[in-house]
């Protein structure tokens, strides 16, 4: 039983990583109605920026804030320059654009900062949290920040005019335009916010997985999986999904014989797909009713 509860705890602490990334995924999904495959790479690039700032002598929190601001602007710039011209193109062409962006960001980061693994500091310290070996203060801090972000996002979408406008622009663009919402800029804003949340996720994840250009590959897959499992329309679902995926992955690795590290991901994905077969809109997503 102790093994079981320990695995759950370990699952929650890895799940925090996924939950953080899943929030960024949901954010962009709310804004543009599809997934951005380059999101992880954008977050990785932001994390490198913050690392560079700290190398130049900025204190952690200053670098943290500057990076978030930079990512927000960079997200908007990417949307304006690269994806606004593709707004009328088919969705699949946009997806190809994400893959191109992925390739560009990954390769540039590799050239600027090279592919060696770098240590990344944590503001929370890495001693055991409340005497437990399985969860460090950093991971506890990460869970805290994730929950904080979740609340902030919820308030933003539910209680602010901009949040409402953004939801409107995403779900019914034409009607939104008719009531005077600038849908084009709402999309740019969504990109900016998603990039900013991604950068927070990146900076929180980096102390755990270490900083290098490919650090986000695995994390983003789990982030997607978590967001889809929880339901892409719900930030709350995304975070829950993140923790569930983390727990699932750990339990599968421990209890199913013959499952090493290698098979953890396929099994976690298989479980997610089975959940989706039963609940196609995710655990907390609202099913979309199509008008005929």
């Amino acid at each position: 039983m102790e093994l079981f509860s320990n695995q759950i705890l370990a699952g929650i602490s890895t799940g925090a990583i996924y939950a953080c990334m899943a929030l960024a995924v949901v954010m962009i999904y709310q804004a543009i109605d599809h997934l951005n495959f380059a999101q992880g790479e954008m977050a990785m690039f932001s994390t490198f920026i913050s690392w560079q700032l700290m190398q130049w002598g900025l204190p952690y929190w200053a670098a943290f804030v500057v990076t978030i601001a930079f990512s927000f602007l960079a997200g908007i710039a990417i949307e304006r320059v690269l994806f606004k011209p593709l707004a009328k193109a088919p969705i699949l062409t946009n997806v190809a654009g994400f893959i191109a962006l992925f390739s560009i960001v990954n390769s540039s980061a590799g050239l600027i900062w090279d592919f060696t693994i770098k240590q990344y500091p944590t503001p929370f310290g890495s001693s055991p949290f409340l005497g437990s070996q399985l969860i460090s203060t950093h991971q506890a801090g990460m869970i805290g920040v994730t929950l904080l972000l979740l609340v902030a996002l919820y308030v933003f979408f539910q209680y602010t005019r901009v949040g409402l406008a953004m939801r409107a622009a995403a779900s019914l663009p034409e009607s939104a335009r008719l009531v005077g919402i600038n849908t084009s800029w709402m999309i740019a804003l969504g990109w900016g916010m998603a990039a900013a949340i991604g950068s927070i996720a990146g900076m929180l994840i980096a102390p755990v997985v270490f900083l290098e250009p490919n650090m986000m590959g695995g994390v983003l897959i789990y982030g997607f999986a978590a967001a889809v499992l929880g339901g892409l329309s719900s930030p709350f679902g995304a975070v829950t999904g993140g923790f569930l995926v983390g727990i699932l992955e750990n339990l599968a690795g421990t209890y199913i014989p013959g499952v090493g590290n290698e098979l953890k991901l396929p099994i976690a994905l298989a479980v997610i797909v089975s959940v989706l077969v039963v609940k196609p809109a995710g655990l907390f997503g609202r099913p979309i009713v199509k008008r005929v």
Binding site: A89, L92, S175, V228, V292
Partner: protein, 338 residues
């Protein structure tokens, strides 16, 4: 939340391509065919090998095109079916001494069944959810192939070495050239099959489902059957391509068939034009040659160069090579009028 945002009048993810716009005219087809037959007579072995791979990836892109462009389902799992096909051929050839040509239909059938079975749970999913499910399949496949349980047949991590076939009947051409023409013959056969499939009753059913699933079922189309059928056919063709790929590369290993391959095939489809079958070969050329070109331009930044080229391509022709074909067709038409 209000009731309004629960009802979405969603545009279909894949735009409607009329079936006549899916193929080339007979004149153009003939020119392409003559080129494909004649060029290998004048080039070196390595280029013949690349042309063989061009056809093989072309087939795999074509298969994805039938699934996405035809029936409107999206898949990131094509690499899994490619792997199954490749392994089926390799195992039959190396462990059971079956003739290479006979392994291909087997690979096709095995993949058809695999695709059909995978299509069943996929019925419930669409859009990003389907993408995730197929993605799961693609990431799982290399790991499954590495499993100790299958190692007796698959050779585990090391993979299998496949012998390259000689030209039969004492034909005076090299192994590479023979394999090229062999692949070309199969490609043409599958291309004709695909064109006719999309023109048939089943093809019309695929397209009806792609354009509006609810309307299609109201017209009496068995949506579940045709969606899984599309998955099966697509997987079957991909399997044949995988088998040919194994013979051409002479080697199968789990890590040749990762998600990267599935993404490459997807890019090939977009660049070639979703739903335009002849575009598959253009897309295949893109995914084979552009990474090399990018590498030549800058070693350190090859990924970035590739991304920039990809961006240029989709900026200039968001509908892929099909757009070029349509525009040039109109130009020729205008010239004729003058």
């Amino acid at each position: 939340m209000s009731a309004v945002d629960e009802v979405a009048t969603e545009a279909p993810a894949v735009e409607a391509v009329p079936k006549r716009a899916m193929t080339l005219g007979s004149g153009t087809s003939l020119v392409v065919l003559v080129l494909l037959i004649a060029v290998p007579l004048f080039v070196k072995n390595f280029i013949i090998f690349q042309m063989t791979m061009l056809l093989i990836y072309g087939l795999a892109v074509l298969a994805l095109n039938i699934l996405t462009g035809g029936s409107g389902q999206f898949s990131l799992g094509q690499s899994a079916f490619y792997a199954i096909g490749a392994y089926t051929s390799a195992i039959l050839m190396e462990q059971y001494d079956v003739n290479y040509a006979l392994t291909l239909p087997v690979a096709g059938v095995v993949c058809f069944v695999a695709g059909f079975l995978f299509g069943l749970p996929a019925l419930r999913l669409s859009g990003v959810y389907l993408a995730l499910a197929t993605f799961a399949l693609a990431t799982a496949m290399p790991q499954l192939l590495k499993l100790g349980f299958f190692e007796k047949w698959t050779g585990g991590v090391q993979g299998l070495v496949v012998t390259k076939p000689d030209a039969p009947f004492g034909l005076p051409i090299g192994q590479d050239a023979w394999l090229y023409y062999f692949t070309l013959a199969i490609t043409i056969a599958i291309y004709i099959f695909s064109v006719n499939l999309l023109r048939s009753r089943s093809g019309r059913a695929f397209m009806a489902i792609r354009d509006n699933e609810i309307a299609a079922s109201a017209m009496g189309i068995n949506v579940a059957l045709y969606k899984t059928l599309a998955f099966g056919v697509s997987a079957g063709i991909t399997g044949v391509a995988g088998g040919l790929g194994a013979i051409a590369v002479q080697f199968v290993a789990p890590d040749s068939y990762t998600i990267t391959l599935a993404i490459a095939l997807f890019l090939g489809m977009v660049v070639g034009g979703v739903g335009w079958l002849p575009g598959s070969i253009v897309g295949s050329a893109f995914i084979i040659f552009v990474p090399n070109i990018a590498e030549n331009i800058s070693k350190g930044l090859s990924g970035a160069v590739f991304g920039v080229i990809l961006f240029l391509v989709i900026f200039l022709m968001p509908h892929g090579a099909r757009q070029v074909a349509i525009v040039s067709q109109q130009l020729i038409g205008r010239l004729r009028k003058n």
